[in-house]
């Protein structure tokens, strides 16, 4: 074990060593007049950029802001713009600066590194190697730093950015039983952390169940009588984004329950359509079906709750 640790530490040291001796190439220069140079040409740019001065990026009183004292203004994010803002010989293209978004010419890792330079402490903790990082999602694919308010920070508009890649989820929220995302009462980020997470599906809490307990804390327990799949993973029975069946269940009871319960008698025998309201009106099919008796399907703290009936 010790030797494995030594190898890991040595490898990390090597990486750090290479970092420390890295020598930068000759770098381009900054513009002569900073943001004034940029605004001169881009004041009426489409899409508009001047909303930046109403959002945190344009706040001159925050020392960390690009427009804080002795900060690099537009070039803090777009890189040195001396060549871009300078005179360009006739017929030659204007040298590019760092631009943002998947369609921009700047490589996405370079774009995102620029954002992380300031937002390391906000989003850098789990960004590297996260599924969005590995799929080359650019920060600017979701965020807009030039508008007065970022649509990602509003539960009513945030989901639209997510649907751009996760179209299947948009339709989930239109199912008859779904969490209230389409109503604007829940945001994707209430459960997921798009900047990366140590947990599966970019969940914001440690496990699926821990995430659900944020709003459904009464199910946490631990209870005297637990229903094993409930304690382990809510998604064994529920589709968290929405479902055709009530209570966001993946399948309709009693078939859902009968997938795992086959004791002799009513759990094991088939309950067919002869048990509907116009037939024998079976308690196993109608109204609360299995739950009419096994009420405490999420677990019971009653000393007689073994069968989840109390």
């Amino acid at each position: 074990m010790l030797s494995r640790m030594s190898v890991v530490i040595f490898a990390l040291l090597l990486l750090g060593l290479a970092d420390a001796v890295a020598v930068a190439d000759e770098e381009p220069s900054f513009s002569r007049r900073g943001a004034d140079s940029c605004i001169g040409c881009h004041r009426n740019w489409d899409p508009p950029i001047m909303g930046l001065f109403q959002n945190p990026h344009g706040n001159p009183h925050d020392a960390r802001s690009p427009f804080g004292e002795q900060q690099l203004q537009c070039e803090a994010c777009h890189g040195p713009g001396g060549a871009h803002a300078g005179r360009v010989p006739r017929g030659e293209p204007r040298p590019a600066i760092i631009n943002f978004g998947s369609e921009a010419g700047t490589p996405i890792p370079e774009q995102n590194a620029m954002c992380l330079a300031c937002h390391e402490g906000h989003v850098g903790e789990q960004w590297g190697g996260s599924i969005h990082d590995l799929n080359d999602v650019a920060c600017a694919d979701c965020h807009n730093s030039h508008t007065p308010t970022d649509p990602m920070l509003d539960a009513r508009t945030q989901s639209e950015a997510c649907y751009a890649c996760h179209a299947e989820v948009k339709s989930d929220f239109l199912k008859p039983s779904a969490h209230p995302v389409r109503q604007g009462e829940l945001a994707c980020t209430d459960c997921h952390d798009p900047h990366g997470s140590a947990n599966e599906a970019l969940l914001s809490r440690t496990t699926i169940n821990d995430t659900c307990y944020d709003c459904h804390a009464e199910k946490r327990g631990p209870l005297v009588w637990e229903h094993a799949p409930v304690a382990e993973d809510c998604t064994i029975c529920h589709d968290a984004h929405g479902a055709v069946h009530p209570s966001m269940l993946a399948r309709r009871a009693p078939l859902l329950c009968q997938s795992c319960h086959t004791a002799s008698g009513h759990p094991s025998v088939p309950h067919d359509s002869s048990g509907l309201a116009d037939g024998t009106a079976s308690a196993y099919l109608l109204a609360g079906n299995c739950l009419s008796c096994h009420t405490q399907v999420h677990g019971s703290n009653h000393p007689s709750g073994k069968a989840l009936m109390r």
Binding site: G16, L17, A18, D19, A20, A22, F30, R32, R33, D36, F53, P60, D62, R64, G79, P80, P109, A113, A117, G124, E125, G128, G129, L134, A167, S171, Q183, N199, T206, Y213, D214, A217, R220, G221, P222, V224, A228, A231, V244, R252, Q258, S259, T262, A263, G265, S268, A277, D278, A281, A283, L286, A287, G288, L291, T295, Q296, S300, H302, P303, S304
Partner: protein, 712 residues
């Protein structure tokens, strides 16, 4: 290289002196005297933002339409909102946001502070749940822990014997209000160090749906909801140039004002039944997480560790409330439920060349349930003394490892592949260990700048260790030995996904996506044996003319599942497979949105949305395998919505808003259709219906923008 330099490099390499974080800092800094930013329109002191007010008229009562929105009753509503910011000098500011102030879904947030120094947030949020307004019950005491039948109630062996039912039924509503008060503080001590603390208190009050049963009879009941949950998230974050560390604490403290629910038995038999309500619980967790980014090979190392404990120790109810059954002593008066949790992950991502990216991750989490285990003298459904049984204390251990690589052959083509393994270990369950290996590959092609195509395929194979029989209360409760529970057994999963994106020009874009996933539980004689999921979605956006933009969305999803049953009334059940259950669910969505901003010289913005969502569910239960089976009536739901909005900007300060919304929902559900309170012989129900609605909402409102005179 002298010793000092070597030492410095070693220290620098350990501390991460090399950085990708601020590439611009490598340049010579500019002459800030010349960077006066005189064209920068920094906001001045004063108020900015807007307030709005509106009158709404809702055409019909509907719990379902009002669920989450608060628009559940016919009539007029006055509503208001605000998004305001007062900027004081030196960067101090106070912000106020409000939404739906006149509705039960209101939200308020007040934020004050100085960006980069400290910020305090105070918030209030209401979420209305309107579950059902079609229900009736003879019980009184709804919303309390004691449900009583009227003195005129006449009991019977079956619901047909409830001769006083008709005269005692009363309408009521199921639902609750969730209210959340939040307070957050962020304090930035320095450019690198900041502290965050968020506290919120959620209350949930109202009436929930539950059920109560005796032997062979049951009743729909109202569960009292009087919950309070306090949550605290606190963190200390230190961010270096290319590394960061976060030390956090999370606490959740849940309390329930109702420990039990007691109800009168409407049927012949024991007089009273009593259910346990959710006990108070608490969970506390400490977390340590961090990341280090190396310049070399664009390498990132992430790690996190979290240790927590969930606990509850509420006093227990007695075995039964039925005085006819001799009370036995409980093994403990209160159950000391306790489970320790631990989670960690380690992830290394590197890009040795511009073309190649590699990533590996190890993730572990466990739930170690250390709660006491006792021999409980169970009284089944307040009806008879059953045999005693020891409660299992479920523990889990999950270990995931993955490795993936992505190689970019050219700007046109890149390929990725990966391997993953998931190991699950469990106590007290039929399978102690499952191990799932998965492989996937993906190709992305971008033949033109305007087009990209992605193909991904995956296979996952889960192997379970020996399937064990867990103890049960007597042979009658034993599971059929052929059963394999779907979350514990062997499974073969194949999936693929194809996606095409086309951006032919500045005027529009088209995206198509198809996904299919098939699960085969090939070694399950009884239980879930197969599922088949596929989804096709398409969306397109097109600038039709001038500023008019149309967006179209289409989605079709199928989810099929097949299970095999082995039914028998013999004890124990050792029947061979003798029936089959098939489910075919389908969900179709279509949407069209049109926006036309800037009409009439920029004064008028128009928006129109149309959405349609249809679901069907076809279930067939075949009594003998291979037989045609009797299909159930199709489960259906249809949701149609139209929304029209017009914003007319009278002047830079005032806007007039006109809106119309129509939404219609209808459903066919055999679990509810035709099921009255006494339809089922042995269950007294609420007679709930499918909550169809057809609601029109008209809106007339205005918005006032706070702007400075020179902007007017």
């Amino acid at each position: 290289m002298n010793e000092n330099r070597i030492l410095k490099i070693m220290v620098a390499s350990l501390l991460g002196a090399g950085t990708v974080a601020s590439p611009v800092l490598a340049q010579e800094l500019p002459d800030f005297e010349q960077w006066s930013c005189r064209f920068c329109p920094f906001p001045e002191q004063g108020v900015e933002g807007n307030v709005d007010a509106e009158a709404l008229h809702v055409s019909d009562d509907s719990a379902r339409f009002g669920d989450y929105t608060g628009l559940d009753e016919e009539g007029a509503y006055l509503n208001a909102g605000a998004d305001m910011l007062y900027r004081a000098g030196e960067g101090y500011a106070v912000g106020f946001e409000a939404r739906n102030l006149g509705l039960d879904s209101r939200e308020l947030a007040l934020r004050a502070g100085r960006q980069g120094s400290w910020i305090v947030d105070l918030s209030w949020d209401e979420l209305p749940r309107r579950l059902d307004d079609s229900v009736q019950t003879p019980y009184s005491g709804l919303g309390t822990s004691r449900l009583a039948l009227p003195s005129s109630w006449i009991r019977g062996n079956f619901t047909s014997g409830f001769t006083a039912l008709e005269t005692t039924l009363r309408d009521f509503e199921l639902g609750w209000d969730r209210e959340t008060l939040g307070l957050g503080i962020e304090f930035v001590q320095s450019e690198r160090l900041r502290y965050e603390i968020d506290w919120n208190q959620q209350t949930k009050e109202g009436r929930g749906l539950t059920w109560g049963s005796f032997l062979g009879t049951a009743a729909d009941l109202v569960k009292p909801l009087d919950y309070q949950t306090d949550q605290v998230d606190a963190a200390l974050v230190y961010a270096g140039a290319n590394w960061n560390v976060r030390l956090g604490y999370f606490g959740s403290f849940f309390s329930n004002n109702d420990t039990s629910l007691t109800w009168d038995n409407p049927f012949n038999g024991p007089d009273l039944g009593r259910l346990a309500m959710a006990p108070d619980n608490r969970y506390q967790q400490v977390q340590l997480a961090g990341a280090y980014r190396f310049t070399t090979w664009d390498t990132t190392l992430n790690a996190s560790y979290a240790q927590g404990r969930m606990e509850q120790s509420d006093a227990l109810l007695q075995y039964t409330i039925n005085p006819a059954i001799a009370a036995q002593a409980l093994p403990v008066e209160s159950f000391e439920g306790e489970a320790d949790t631990m989670a960690m992950n380690l992830r290394l991502t590197t890009r040795p060349t511009d073309r190649l990216r590699l990533s590996t991750e190890y993730r572990y989490n466990e739930r170690d349930n250390t709660s006491g285990q006792y021999d409980w003298a169970i009284v089944q459904a307040d009806s008879f003394q059953s045999v005693s049984f020891v409660n299992p204390a479920y523990s889990f251990e999950n270990r995931d490892i993955s490795l993936q690589g992505d190689y970019r052959f050219s700007r046109i083509l890149d390929a990725a592949a990966g391997w993953g393994q998931k190991v699950r270990e469990r106590d007290f369950q039929n399978v102690e260990r499952t191990e799932e290996d998965s492989y996937w590959g993906r190709i992305r092609v971008r033949p033109f700048t305007a087009m990209s195509l992605s193909l991904q395929a995956a296979n996952a194979s889960r192997d379970a260790s020996e399937y064990l029989q867990v103890p049960s209360i007597g042979p009658g409760a034993a599971q059929n030995p052929l059963l394999r529970k779907y979350n514990l057994t062997d499974r073969e999963r194949d999936s693929f996904q194809v996606q095409a994106d086309l951006v032919p020009g500045d005027r529009g874009s088209v995206s198509l996506r198809y996904e299919r996933a098939q699960d085969d539980y090939e070694d399950s004689p009884v239980g879930l044996v197969a599922t088949d999921y596929d989804q096709l979605s398409a969306d397109a956006s097109l600038q039709l003319w001038r500023e008019i933009v149309a967006t179209v969305f289409y989605s079709r999803e199928n989810y099929d599942s097949d299970m095999i049953g082995a039914g028998s009334f013999a004890v124990p059940n050792t029947a061979q497979p003798n029936w089959e259950g098939r489910t075919r669910d389908r969900h179709d969505v279509q949407g069209l949105a049109l926006t036309w901003p800037g009409l009439r010289e920029g004064k008028l913005d128009l928006r129109a949305d149309w959405t349609r969502a249809d679901t069907t569910g076809d279930i067939t239960v075949a009594n003998m395998l291979g037989a045609a089976g009797t299909p159930f009536p199709t489960l259906r739901s249809k949701l149609t919505g139209v929304e029209l909005m017009a914003d007319y900007h009278l002047n830079p300060r005032w806007s007039l808003n006109l809106g119309y919304r129509w939404e219609k929902f209808s459903a066919d559900d055999w679990a509810k259709d035709g099921v009255g309170e006494a339809t089922i012989d042995n269950v007294l129900t609420f007679g709930a219906e499918t909550l169809d609605y057809d609601v029109n909402v008209f809106l007339l409102g205005f918005r006032y923008n706070f702007i400075k005179e020179e902007e007017e």
